[in-house]
């Protein structure tokens, strides 16, 4: 029941907002549908935590501690982003960057995007997972190009082609998975692609085929998660689209892609009985961290800067899942949560900062704190949080990951530490003059919605200071499900 509402609400929202067109109350309606989605996700989470896992609709949907936590996170950030986008998009309209027709597309696609992500997270069918991931790309391509500028068109094209090619690799991986399953459990048609079935027979799946399948699945879904070397689309898509879209792409879509990779890893590891999948995840993760950190130095655009920081954090998460084991998995899940919350908060603050300064170039954003202390402090606190300064949750998760790495993979620790240090210098050095100093900011026609920024940061701070026991149990249950190590 909760699941039905969860999946139906954003879909109805997409249809309604698409049909109604650009009414004055469309942003409020957008928020309304997101509220319903969030409530349903909350109810579902409570139920799953109480009852263990849930299998519904002819086993097509499967919810356990691992994905319900991502569902709750997705619905929450979806809601706060909808609240943020209400004044933000109105300002964009008054600045003449979007027209009414584009706003209609924006709202409709926003809801559609939410529903595809929720389907991807809850489905039990590896084929449907693929379909939903591709649909998530398609629903956001036109949002990236919403401003119709040459740069945004280029970003959209890159996004489409790179993710399209990547996801085609994932389809081949899925075919191989189906092939291996049919081989092991006989021709069962639909059920051969159900994750629960695959998981129960994973020991009998042919290792040679699954190893090959994993390479394709990792490259395919890894492209969508922004893992190097196929990360090129990510900074462009994040920088050129409207800020609310950057926030959900970075905070949510990347998580969903990582989720897909981890689901595949569980299956393949059970079949291969070797460390190959773990090693591949660690390698790709570390490569992404190092590459992203050095590219951080060359950025001039505020949204691109934080897009590269997303690649870095996705690399850290992938590395942690690669190490596996209860502690590293726990840390990776925590990191996914705090990264989503912090990064979307930063994009909210950065979006308003760019609106006030009239430019996304960091050289032209100066002295936010004089005209708007809230935006200035929001950006500053967010940056400190994402850099892993102590009281915030990112510190807790990065600390756990680093200490586990010291024990399990000592060779990787210096690389990670150096990367974090370089990232600190790069981001802090850029953010500091934007926040303090002489101001260049202007007043905005609509008061910005900064509540989401501080709610997110407060949650991240809270998670850094104290993780409530039931939340910790929940994470632990999820970490156990992922296993490995």
């Amino acid at each position: 029941m909760e699941l039905l509402i969860l999946l139906a609400a954003p879909l109805t929202g997409a249809l309604t907002l698409g049909l109604l067109g650009a009414r004055r109350f469309a942003p409020e309606l957008n928020v309304g549908f997101s509220v319903v989605t969030f409530l349903a996700a909350g109810a579902l989470a409570v139920r799953v935590v109480a009852e263990g896992h849930l299998v519904v609709a002819h086993e097509q949907f499967f919810i356990d501690a691992f994905n319900v936590f991502l569902v709750a996170l997705t619905a929450f950030v979806g809601l706060t982003t909808a609240i943020f986008s209400r004044p933000y998009m109105r300002v964009e309209m008054e600045h003449g960057r979007v027209r009414a027709a584009q706003l209609r597309l924006y709202h409709s696609m926003y809801q559609l995007f939410m529903s595809t992500m929720l389907v991807a997270l809850t489905t039990n069918n590896m084929g449907l997972l693929w379909v939903a991931m591709e649909a998530a790309t398609l629903s956001t391509v036109l949002l990236v190009t919403l401003y119709r500028t040459p740069a945004s068109l280029e970003a959209g094209w890159k996004y489409f082609i790179l993710c399209g090619v990547g996801i085609a690799q994932a389809l081949f991986g899925t075919i191989l998975l189906y092939f291996a399953a049919e081989h092991a459990i006989g021709a069962e048609g639909v059920s051969a692609l159900l994750w629960t079935h695959l998981n129960s027979v994973k020991g009998q799946l042919e290792p040679a085929v699954l190893g090959l399948a994993f390479v394709f699945l990792l490259v395919g879904y890894g492209t969508k998660a922004g893992l190097a070397p196929l990360h090129n689309w990510l900074p462009d898509a994040h920088a050129e689209g409207p800020t609310p879209i950057s926030a959900v792409l970075s905070g949510l879509l990347l998580n969903v892609a990582i989720y897909a990779v981890v689901r595949c890893k569980i299956l393949v590891e059970g079949s291969l009985h070797s460390a190959l999948p773990s090693k591949m995840l660690m390698g790709f993760g570390l490569l992404s961290v190092v590459l992203a950190v050095f590219l951080l130095w060359r950025q001039r655009d505020i949204k691109r800067l934080f897009a590269y920081s997303s690649i870095e954090h996705m690399g850290i998460i992938t590395f942690a899942f690669g190490m596996g084991g209860p502690v590293a998995n726990f840390a990776a899940l925590l990191h996914m949560t705090v990264h989503s919350l912090t990064k979307s908060a930063i994009f909210f603050a950065a979006g308003h900062a760019a609106q006030k300064a009239g430019s996304q170039l960091m050289d032209q954003i100066r002295g936010l704190i004089t005209l708007s202390p809230t935006i200035g402090w929001g950006l500053m606190m967010g940056s400190l949080a994402i850099l892993g300064l102590p009281p915030f949750g990112v510190f807790a998760s990065e600390f756990l990951i680093l200490t586990t790495a010291m024990r399990e993979q000592p060779w990787a620790t210096p690389i990670l530490l150096a990367a974090l240090g370089v990232a600190f210098a790069a981001i802090f050095g850029r953010v500091q003059p934007m926040v303090f100093g002489e101001t260049t900011a202007k007043r905005l026609p609509h008061p910005p919605a900064l509540l989401p920024v501080f709610v997110h940061l407060a949650l991240v701070l809270g998670l850094g200071l104290y993780i409530p026991p039931y939340l910790a149990d929940w994470y632990r249950a999820a970490a156990r499900l992922i296993g490995g190590g």
Partner: protein, 228 residues
Amino acid sequence: MSGVPLTLQLLNFCAALLLLLSFAMLSQRRVVNLVNLLAVQGSVLLLATLLLAVRTGQHHLYLSAGLTLGLKVILLPTLLHRLIRRLGVYWDAEPLLNISGTMLVGVLVVVFAFGLAQPISQLASTATRNAIGIAVAVVLLSFLMMITRRKAMSQVVGFLSMENGLFFGAMSATYGMPMIVEFGVALDVLVAVLVLGIFFFQIREQFDSLDLHHLEALKEEGAPRRET
């Protein structure tokens, strides 16, 4: 007829034809012809699906053949032809690697594909297992085409041809994916082409051309950006 049944011989013939078509696409620079080749590829795929359906008696293959007919033989080529006419793009620019060079790389790609498919073919119990290598080759050749072409339209044809290759692979390894997945994939492909149609008009409105070298401003350091 030395022991090999006629349907199987025909199926192998279809597979060989698909590989030839991929090479034909690699060498073709007229965009209209590329779309025609894509339609032919779709038809061969349709024929192969029907032959396999007759041979194995699996009913869902008929459904999947219907899907191929509707989408890949009729709808997509028609849509692409209309796009070409309305946008007025008929020729691709000189590819990044000249045609004969591309063909040579293509031959190497095919050898690699057969090597890659070796472990899968050995395990497969389907009658068409020899075709798996060809399917992988078609996918990789389409990939090669996407890399070497400059015009947006040719890249899209490469993308769709890659999807055809994957579909053929699924068919020859496992007699097709579950129906619900096949429908989902077909829907995604259709939506992708529609989105691309919109996208092309946006690109042309902005640049008066579909040549992708216009889309190379975003380098790592970030090009000078518009003022808000």
